[in-house]
Subunit: 453 residues, 2 copies
């Protein structure tokens, strides 16, 4: 490569991709490293999990998005370590690359508050693989229930528990409500999908904490219409193959269920912890790395940390949320700061987050939105949501296809992508479950990861 | 259920689904059993394997397709055995169901001529899972090549071998040619995807044996333009992690390659063998069950066998091919025969196949078609192909979305679904491969099924 300044970006999520695109015409050589070959439009992941969209529709190949940027090289690789003294990034395959400026945007992963064994029964919603696993679990639950005659077992299979009532949890619960009440209405002969119980839990005193209270109440009412029951101040005590146990203030409650989805907390990905160790950076409980007003780590002015990995404070000293908007604005800021540095100009002013608001969709033509302080709900909120999401989907192709799919779905209540594919690391073996009931024996534990045909 | 005649259909492919729909308003109770919850539009599977379409776009949930047929129950289950004496179907989960008429349409699976160990290195193209595995292998090969500097290794990673030059093999080879020459043109910095070698093999003296010879020649010329090299009279002698060895008449040839796709022969699924045993039916070498002119097994007038499982002869005594057209016509025939039986009418005349022709697509706006004896190629053949395939895709929604995707792709040469997801039972571990080269050691065998990040 040339003698130009070398920029390495780790992670092709919202933050990393924005940074790379902002640097597209700058006189620098960029390497963007990701473990995936695609950028994932995470806010729509719940639609893959609930069978509205196919994986290809919310993901854009990074090489495709960045292919025309001649100064950018995309590498598929797993960053294992960062050496801030030698200014090198080390990959798991042994390769290493030097940087003049580094942007770390390696994101976050689901956090089970030290109970990683729950993950097996309660997958999170962070990757396409998890989304198809969840889709598998939801659709299979109806299939199993159709074949069972024992009412208690059937009820357990038709109980869906979503842990975490932030936007993702609310959107998931709403979508499952729609599947049960609309999509599958005519599909079964023995069960009535609308009898299913959908329970949305949160430890907080209400749902949608980042939203104003009136909108949260509106959301709860919309969810109720779809059969979703909200339980607040509910802490998860345990999750296993067949149940979730809750702590509700003074008493406990056990929910018999075969489908638990984790939309609870997040923690930083492993690389974040390595970076904190190498730089001695301060971190918070979730592992986020404290950055200065210019988004760099103290004493490492060449290392920018952005997105979910960054602990970045707003004007009032409160940490910014781990959402796409923040990551994108940070990515753009870091990229522009690097350009100024290369040009020998003085640093820009401190990063300032422009909060455009919050959005959550509850179902067909229903949402809540807080846009620049204006509270919207129902159809207007939903239209804002559709507009914003479509504009942000990276590739033209996906945008059009997604839009048409939504239009058709909203006209017909059908879901085209409700396929049960691959294997889900689920808590059942279809044949085994049914056979157990047929021979009236006890449910045996752990036919783990059995291939589902 | 009522005292009405009971019909069981095993398999929701083209044959089974056509039979079920034809019986939709008949005074019978239908159970359709499949191991999958969706009907798969197999002729477009190669487009999923090559990143043009997403799985959801070529699959339609069976419950969705048959939901409005009040006389039909869809069961997700694995048929293990058939008892023709008691007229019962037994499921792997222990459940059993009685029939008055049975339609067996359980299809076929890839056949490795007794060398099942090749499957690990040369996946077939029969299921959505296999299609995404193949997509994974193809796209990863370019990614690995981008990271390697050894020219011989790089060449091996950029060599794609397709075994079997029937329509599926031709379509796959053409699509890979397009990926290399068009889609990925600007995506890489170190490799030139158009340098990749694509080799299409067949034991027969020419490609596309079911087609007239002039069209086969036209197809070969179109393939050559996409960089596909055709080797005929080539028998596969062995397949392993890093090569394919061929027998070419008097000599052998070894091709160093990391991507082999099996579009060779097929054999009947396991249930077919069980049924043959239970009924003592005659079978051919591929296990297909000989049926009479009314598509039933000799001495079992209530068991219809259709589609890839049936050995059904045309007017000249030649076996009908295992294609969708045949299965669909047979499904309709069997369903109508059952209706007549229920109505107490005498049997219909013998099944007669109406051959509408053959089609194979070679690339963007290029195909060969033999439609009712008229030979077409180039754009006209391609338009016929687009029209026929869209008309046959079961659900309205998929049809529209697929059409729009194709239109956009053909205008832009982009492929939206080129994602590397999940795990592929592939012959490499990305980190290991690169690391091997970095430390200049020999390629080590079998990092089998390693999770790809």
């Amino acid at each position: 490569m040339s003698g130009r300044s070398k920029v390495i970006i780790i992670g092709g999520g919202f933050g990393g991709l924005c940074a790379a695109r902002t640097l597209g015409s700058a006189p620098v050589d960029i390497i963007l490293i990701d473990r995936r070959n695609y950028h994932l439009f995470q806010p729509l992941l719940y639609q893959v999990a609930t069978g509205s969209l196919s994986p290809g529709e919310i993901a854009a190949p990074l090489r495709g998005v960045l292919g025309r940027q001649k100064n950018t090289r995309v590498l598929l690789g797993d960053v294992e370590d960062i050496d801030p003294a030698l200014k090198r990034v080390l990959l798991a395959d042994g390769a290493s690359f030097e940087y003049d400026s580094l942007i770390v945007a390696s994101g976050s992963t689901s956090f089970y508050y030290g109970n990683d064994q729950w993950q097996k029964w309660a997958p999170g919603l962070k990757s396409l693989e998890e989304a198809t696993t969840i889709r598998h679990k939801i659709l299979y639950a109806f299939e199993v229930a159709e074949r069972l005659s024992d009412p208690a077992l059937r009820r357990a299979w038709l109980t869906f528990v979503i842990v975490g009532a932030g936007p993702t949890g609310v959107e998931l619960a709403g979508a499952i409500g729609e599947i049960a009440r609309e999509t599958l209405k005519n599909d079964f002969r023995s069960i009535h999908p609308e009898e299913s119980r959908i329970i949305l839990l949160d430890g907080a005193p209400r749902l949608l904490m980042p939203f104003p209270e009136d909108l949260a109440r509106k959301a709860e009412r919309s969810l109720a219409k779809l059969g979703v029951q909200v339980k607040t101040k509910a802490m998860v005590k345990s999750v296993d193959q067949a149940s979730v146990t809750l702590e509700l203030g003074d008493h406990e409650e056990r929910l018999d269920t075969r489908t638990v989805i984790w939309a609870g907390g997040v923690t930083v990905a492993a690389l974040g912890r390595t970076l904190a160790k190498r730089t001695g950076a301060e971190t918070d409980r979730g592992g986020r790395i404290k950055v200065g007003p210019d988004l760099t780590i103290a004493e490492f002015p060449d290392i920018y940390v952005i997105g979910d990995l960054a602990l970045s404070l707003d004007a009032e000293g409160k940490p910014l949320a781990g959402v796409a908007q923040v990551a994108m604005q940070q990515g753009t800021y870091a990229a522009k700061a690097i350009v100024r540095k290369v040009q020998g100009k003085p640093p820009r002013k401190a990063f300032e987050y422009l909060d455009k608001g919050n959005l959550a969709v509850i179902g067909r033509a229903a949402a809540v939105a807080n846009v620049f302080g204006i509270h919207l709900w129902g159809l207007p909120a939903w239209l804002v949501w559709v507009f914003i999401h479509l504009m942000y989907i990276v590739e033209f192709q996906s945008r059009l296809v997604v839009f048409i799919k939504w239009a058709i779905q909203d006209l017909t209540s059908s879901r085209g992508a409700r396929l049960i594919t691959g294997t889900a690391n689920t808590d059942f073996d279809f044949n085994h479950e049914i056979a157990c009931e047929n021979c009236t024996t006890e449910l045996k534990a752990d036919p783990l990861g059995a291939e589902v045909h």
